[in-house]
Symmetry: D2
Subunit: 240 residues, 4 copies
């Protein structure tokens, strides 16, 4: 059983076994049920929790940069992904998006995760297993630009050249399904946008989200003075 430990400063640890070594001491977890507090051999306390998928996402090993939560959220909301849906996720990278998708489409849906790099696929495989979602994600070592094998409700493209997949997406999507491309650069988003239209996809739309955290302090309220300025553009399109 995987558990999330949180120390008194808020630092989090994923414990994959019944024993975990931290800089605050060794923690024995055999009898630690979620919701309890455990003490390390150095006398430091930790909350013990059943991790949610967002915790796995936060603490998992990463292969390169991942799609941030705000952008994952926009994909989920604009496409209204639901339980039972079939998703093609390419490239899977470290699997951050894949575990979000699988956690929603399970138990009857499935995520087909395309990846061309075996090393990334290996990291993703481990992360998906950590999330307990291995039954709902099938990793395929395949270049999505060569074609898509599944009929999908949603196709997510986190690859440098999503425009190369526009026609494959059109062919693979179910009617009323969505394809979404995530692109750090505006030129990529533009090319994806135009290629999606060219391929006959509908409701093509490129969106950027800016996320601001609001600081609530006794002295007053204001947006944080440092923030992430940009992650990427999301280009949505739909089949009908």
């Amino acid at each position: 059983m995987i558990r999330l430990l949180i120390d008194k400063k808020g630092k989090k640890y994923l414990a994959k076994d019944n024993k975990i070594q931290t800089h605050l001491g060794v923690v024995e977890l055999e009898n630690a049920s979620p919701g309890s507090i455990v003490t390390s051999h150095l006398g430091n306390e930790f909350y013990v929790l059943k991790p949610r998928i967002c915790d796995i996402y936060d603490k998992m090993e990463r292969a390169g940069s991942v799609i941030l939560k705000k952008d994952i959220g926009l994909i989920l909301a604009y496409t209204s992904l639901g339980s039972g849906d079939i998703v093609v996720d390419a490239g899977v990278g470290s699997g951050g998006l894949a575990i979000y998708l699988a956690n929603i489409v399970k138990p009857k849906g499935k995520v087909y995760a395309y990846e061309i790099r075996e090393d990334h696929a290996e990291i993703a495989r481990n992360n998906i297993k950590l999330a307990g979602l291995e039954d709902y994600v099938e990793i395929k070592i395949k270049d999505v630009r060569k074609g898509i094998d599944e009929e999908a409700d949603l196709i997510t493209l986190d690859i440098p050249d999503p425009w190369e997949v526009a026609e494959h997406a059109y062919n693979a999507l179910k009617h009323s399904g969505y394809v979404v491309a995530y692109s750090p650069y505006i030129e990529q988003a533009r090319k994806a946008n135009l290629a999606f239209r060219e391929a006959g996809l509908k409701e093509v739309k490129t969106i950027e989200l800016i996320e601001r955290e609001i600081e609530v302090a006794s002295v007053g309220t204001r947006p944080r003075t440092r923030m992430v300025g940009h992650t990427g553009y999301l280009t949505f399109a739909r089949k009908y």
Copy 2:
């Protein structure tokens, strides 16, 4: 069977029956399968689609303002709502958020939708049925400020005074679960933020999302010149 019709200008219609009257003519749908094109008695063509939940959301009857998709997405992503989760959604309003939530937590999860206004509950009930999610949402005519009956993974609060629910949320949440308050005004967000901390909730965070659509035209690329400037603040907190 409910179907989504889209005319050649992109205007959408929800057809609840096998016949629908539009300003472009009467459309007979008895033999119209999703993915096909039908023609009205005036000769106008419509795409016929199986609506996704986002289509129901777009076209359903509304009681007051609804939480926009970008904000729904942030809730989904920050809490990593998944299939099987138990959600308390208060107040349900016209049910826009509820159908998103139910579409994810089904088939084993459930949404308990609190609402104090019978007229809003009635609209929500119809919209939830339209979405085919009536088995996964239980509408309760109850004031969430009086208490929460369920043990929940997620509690969403779209009410004017979410701070009144901070302690109930603490008591009702499962360990590692989340409460989220949606507030148009910064003063509301501040009060919710402080009340959540006061109630012993953790990881309290207030976020605002700004959504920009990027126009891709032959003359060039730029953010749209008119945009929604603000919807609301989301205040997240977690139980442990």
Copy 3:
């Protein structure tokens, strides 16, 4: 003497003469000094003010779109335009930016306003006169892409192809002077940015400003729900 009239609803009128016709009646201004209140022949009251340059800007005749105040402000602040500076402003358009610039550089500085369209130059000429700044702006019917005649502290480019002026700007700028290009589209900003670097200009920087108005109401405080999503990008560069 030019005067600004403001009715009780906040609507503003520029009165160029001692008599002005409004939909609230005829107003006689012969004896109306700034700061007083006058009454029209229909009994409606107006504040009488000496207009500032921002009032002329707001009420002047416009030839196409103008650079918005937020963007004018960024130009002023990033270049620290001051009294006595020499400015080349191309194309002058309706003169909105030119009157801001001239109002700062006077009495010893000067704005050389390049414009290729005689009709725009005529509108600008009138607006500059309305602002009382005709001694500080020289309008030249000349294509700035053909060269710049003056040695300038600041060159402002509100033209579709500012990259064509990169070398002329380098040659015309005084040491430590600035050139700024205003571009609605990101592709224009990119080309200007690269051309400025190519021409040997330094500190090349492209900026976008997003302006949000905050609504302060008795019910609470929040950003306005509708806003201008985008105006343009400003690309700055410097000579040394």
Copy 4:
């Protein structure tokens, strides 16, 4: 003569004398005219420039945080400050805003800079002298909340409690003049906004500017991934 030196990495130095010590060696400036290149005794080259006010602002000694350029720009543009205007600037802090204002209103205008802290006034005095603007700024060790002695076109308030100055501002402003309060926290902006209205000031408006730098690289174009999330709110009001 004050000079700006810029090394090959873009790092800047203000040289107040004919000799300056840098980590790249000692630089003799006796015969260095603006626009030339000088070499340190260690063989490193520097551009020599006549500093503009923005350079003084960038390199001057600072007493606490200063108003950023984007916000200075908005003040300049919304009030259309011009040559000859009379300004009251309170509190002056390190004088960053004051030198911008004085550089515009000179030679006939004047900035009256109120400050209650003698140590800040001393820093401001030095910075203003560095900028060569000592003839156009009069520093007054006075609490602006006790009253304003001058008749002003513009009053700028960078103090924690600008609402305390609302009535004094109303009394001191010329007709059509502006008062502007800079406030980091939304609660301060709200109080200023309401107090300005209460004092009979007109066109009361609270604005926030978000500044994004656009990165233009060979790989593509995008907003910078790290940015300043917030500086402050500007609340404008006008007398008539």
